[in-house]
Amino acid sequence: MKPAPFNLLRPRSVDEALALLQAHGDDAKVLAGGQSLVPLMNFRLAQPGNLIDLNGVRGLDQIQFNDHALSLGAMVRQRDVERSPAIAERLPILREAIEQIAHPAIRNRGTVGGSLVHADPSAELPLLAIALDATFHLRSARASRSVAARDFYQGYLITDIAADELLVEIDFNLPPANSGWCCAEIARRQGDFAIVAVAVLLDRASDRSVSFARVALGGVGPAPLRVAAAEEVLLGQRPGSELFRRAGDAAEQAVEPPADIHASSAYRRHLTAVLVRRALATAEGRIQGQA
């Protein structure tokens, strides 16, 4: 189908975009890569009167590391993350996650910020934001503020962002330098939305016990979440298949996934246990410099 008529507004700077958002508020949508919004408009599920196109805005496409975080501008294309040698070296889990987003032509256009704010509960980037304890930097014509990922995601496609606010930058906190990692998902076909997705990070102390553990899940609730119960099973223990099985079981116990056309709740819980177990085993094998 064709979208309903709208005004296309083309700001050249963040300040211009913020002024337009303040002026049009509820009757405006921000257009980033358009890979989620435009399908919704083509189906007429979204009919914004005004579309604020960020593609001509300068200064939202930086990829920068500092000692403790990777900072990405909201308009960084997913494909540019996938192709960044620095990200492949210093935050490889982000690359592994992005390679599972849809297909090359979608990632060429799709942006980091667009996916994060669209907030699909099965999407990879919100999952990574939760797993890496990311910080969202929001701006409006009124003020600037920063929000932790766990507070940003509030429900199904619902975030903490106000109608006049714009996500300008996100900081992904870096895990310990040598930690192992894995982002894995089960989908019906390559590139489809995940039925269940998992992101795990794992590191060991010199006595080989688990010193750092992150277990995050997507597709099992209205928003991605960290599973403290699974992390507690892991911390301080010697890694191994039995421990990973117990962590997977703890994750399965901790979630109450929805049933929908793609999968039953019981199947999603089953996948949760299996994926967490497998991802932890993969992550353990990727810990650097182990004895």
Binding site: K2, L8, V38, N42, H103, P104, A105, I106, N108, Q190
Partner: protein, 159 residues
């Protein structure tokens, strides 16, 4: 009176100027305003890949891009691949390996394959399948498409 936006862009090397409605998709602009009907419209929500074209050297879904957003850009469609009567090496490989039946997906497949081979001149079967995973074909079962892309890669003529 619907407001129109003036755009100037290059399509297959030719400069085009037009006034388009904001909601005009790039694929409708190519087909209806420029008469370039080689690019096909399938699902209109980014799933099937039939409308794949290149924007500034990268594949995009032209059903998910508004024509106004292509202002100043360079677009390549399947029509831009042929030199006179000579088919592009990928097109020749598709023909030789029976990589199409109805042909609806073929223009998108060719553009996606072109990007794949520019990034990775000698892909494995799996890499071809992943590279073309965003393009659906209802006829061939994909086997001959993968064969054609690998044959084109082996000949080394794809630029």
């Amino acid at each position: 009176m619907v407001e129109r936006i003036s755009i100037t862009l290059k399509v297959n090397g030719f400069e085009e100027t037009a006034a388009v409605e904001a909601r005009r998709s790039l694929v409708d602009f190519l087909r209806h305003d420029l008469g370039l009907v080689g690019t096909h419209v399938g699902c209109e929500h980014g799933v099937c890949g039939a409308c794949t074209v290149m924007l500034n050297g990268r594949t995009v879904r032209s059903c998910l891009l508004f024509a106004a957003q292509a202002d100043g850009a360079e677009i390549l469609t399947v029509e831009g691949l042929t030199k006179g009567e000579d088919l592009h090496p990928l097109q020749q490989a598709f023909q030789r390996h029976h990589a199409l039946q109805c042909g609806f997906c073929t223009p998108g497949m060719i553009l996606a394959a072109l990007e794949l081979l520019r990034d990775n001149p000698d892909p494995t079967d799996k890499e071809v399948r992943v590279g073309l995973s965003g393009n659906l074909c209802m006829c061939t079962g994909y086997v001959n498409i993968v064969r054609a892309v690998r044959a084109a890669a082996a000949e080394g003529q794809v630029r």
